[in-house]
């Protein structure tokens, strides 16, 4: 049996968890296993879980676990796994999913494979994980009675595939006080900034070639005309030309606009990790051999300080 950790918001499983269930079903098709789910949440999740192929839902509704506590959650999962002996424990590749699974691994003296894209479940399990910020696949071998896996983000679509019934079983873990030594004390709601780098249909990115914070002026102007949002590579945030929250890259925002206009950005893999899900990439760069051109759809060779104003003028004239 494959056991999937579900995270939820407002009484509904979140999208990464539903994607994880889609992945679990493709794995179950190889192994012939059933899919069960576990959540730190109410019975009412069962309906949506049934729609996504879960035949049994283990609800852990202990009041003290409702505020996230990594170790307490992990101890609970381990106790449940010891009881029902799943072949796989699979979690979303979220901040919590990865953290809890690392603890489950530590508690069980087992290895965890994170960022999983694919599993070939033969005699020994060959797992493909995303590595180097998504630039490489890494193939690993696991030989454990319980495989501990977390998902690569947005690797599969969250699709429905209902089963007839999803039983709900309540599980009550035995927890010591010390497992709550890292627990969320309070939660500040995210600030709604309107259109963000993550949601904008057009993103304009500046890199080293922009040269200064003033240099971003023309990018801002183009952004306004195209109703887009302006971000920067890590060079620009490290030099203080842009705030860190505007960083596009592996360690900043991961964007997926209809068009990404990359100005003066060479295209280090850490930057590409943040923008490769763009539908189209237009590059403006002085270097015709810039690595970013081998990831882009369109290129203009030359100085962005001349080309971007020319584009703005052309748009105004047309």
């Amino acid at each position: 049996m494959i056991l999937v950790l579900i995270e939820h918001r407002d009484g509904q499983p979140d999208i990464p968890s539903l994607q994880t269930l889609s992945f679990a079903r493709s794995l179950a098709a190889q192994t012939g296993d059933s899919i069960e789910a576990v959540a730190f949440g109410p019975d009412s999740l069962a309906g949506r879980l049934r729609d996504h192929g879960v035949s049994r839902y283990h609800s852990i509704a202990d009041e003290q676990l409702m505020a996230y506590a990594s170790e307490a959650w992990a101890v609970s999962l381990k106790q449940l796994a010891d009881l029902i002996s799943p072949k796989v424990l699979l979690a979303p590749g979220s901040i919590k999913g990865n953290e809890v699974m690392a603890y489950v691994g530590a508690l069980s003296a087992l290895s965890v494979v994170t960022n999983v894209c694919q599993v070939d479940a033969g005699n020994d399990w060959r797992v493909t994980r995303s590595s180097w910020g998504g630039s490489l696949f890494e193939k690993v071998l696991i030989d454990q009675d319980l495989a501990l896996l977390t998902m690569a983000n947005n690797n599969v679509e969250a699709s429905e595939s209902a089963v007839d019934v999803c039983d709900t079983v309540s599980f009550t873990p035995a927890l010591e006080k010390k497992y709550f030594r890292a627990q969320v004390k309070s939660l500040e709601n995210p600030v709604d900034e309107g259109m963000s780098l993550k949601t904008a249909p057009v993103v304009i990115g500046g890199g080293r070639g922009v040269g200064s914070s003033e240099g971003f002026g023309v990018l801002e102007e183009l952004g306004e005309i195209l109703k887009g949002v302006v971000g920067g590579s890590r060079v620009t945030t490290n030099n203080g030309w842009r705030a860190h929250r505007h960083q596009i890259g592996l360690t900043g925002n991961h964007i997926s606009p209809k068009l990404y206009i990359a100005c003066g950005i060479s295209g280090a893999i850490q930057h590409m990790a943040g923008c490769k899900n763009s539908d189209n990439i237009l590059v403006i760069n002085t270097d015709e051999n810039a690595p970013i051109l081998s990831h882009a759809d369109y290129g203009v060779i030359g100085d962005l300080h001349e080309i971007v104003p020319a584009i703005i003028k052309e748009i105004k004239n047309s």
Partner: protein, 255 residues
């Protein structure tokens, strides 16, 4: 305040990763080494905390002899001393790395007293397993939060902020604690010329280490499919603006 920061040196690959013939290593011929942005912020945090609270900041890495350069770079920024867990064997997995670091920390703490804080980057820029900090925290029986965006020390308590999908989480952890830092928590300084000169005289302890037989079996790397695309060059210089506008219209971003 006694702080240990663990960093990992990786090849500075630039725009394209070249693999060795058997796919088990990055072909790092002609490549420099660097560390992950997360770890640069961990180093910066340690330097700021020691400046404010007094004490000492140690930087540790596990890697080949050349990794000494990454330690010297951290020392040039203001860390006080370095530890190099030396191995010429590549592809250590997260469990092997965590075991070697834990063993070293235990020995160091027996000799010099406990670290108040042990900092990691939230994930390495190469394999990105995002586990070593937690494995070390568990082995040392200390509280831990992975991927933090803010840290303040109030007496014996670490006040922590972490951004999750739901919003910003606030934690209060008793020290000693193990924390993994996310890029953007601070603006890492660059090494100064004076710092670089001084770093040459700062102590680095060399310890030989071997991987144990735990963890996941690594097979090989493979390139991802989208690595070979070639852009259509619309033109050179400002004259290309009209063609750019055509593209914007084609994508229905302009009418």
């Amino acid at each position: 305040m006694n702080i240990l920061v663990c960093i990992k040196q990786i090849p500075d690959v630039g725009g394209k990763i070249k693999l060795s013939e058997d796919g088990r290593d990055i072909d790092s011929t002609n490549l420099g080494l660097t560390i992950s942005p997360h770890e640069e912020c961990a180093v910066e945090q340690a330097i700021q905390l020691v400046k404010a609270e007094g004490g000492s900041a140690t930087v540790l890495t596990l890697g080949i002899a050349d990794s000494e350069n990454q330690l010297r770079d951290s020392l040039a920024r203001g860390m006080n001393k370095g530890v190099l867990l030396h191995t010429e064997i590549s592809n250590w997995n997260a469990n092997q790395i965590a075991h070697a670091i834990t063993d070293t920390i235990k020995k160091m703490e027996t000799d010099n007293g406990s670290f108040d804080l042990i900092l990691f980057g939230s994930e390495s820029a190469d394999r990105g397993n995002a586990q070593v900090g937690i494995l070390v925290a568990h082995a040392l029986d200390r509280p831990s939060v992975n991927g933090i965006n803010g840290l303040e020390i109030a007496g014996n308590i670490a006040l922590i902020k972490r951004d999750s999908d739901e919003g910003t989480e606030n934690y209060e952890l008793d020290l000693p604690a193990v924390l993994s830092v996310k890029d953007g928590m601070n603006l890492p300084r660059f090494p100064s010329l004076k710092g670089t000169v001084m770093a040459k005289k700062k102590p680095i302890q060399f310890i030989e280490v071997q991987p144990d037989d735990t963890g996941i079996g690594f097979l090989k790397f493979e390139p991802t499919p989208e690595q070979s695309k070639q852009a259509v060059i619309l033109g050179t210089g400002p004259e290309a603006a009209a063609d750019v506008v055509q593209v914007l219209k084609k994508l229905e971003l302009l009418r």
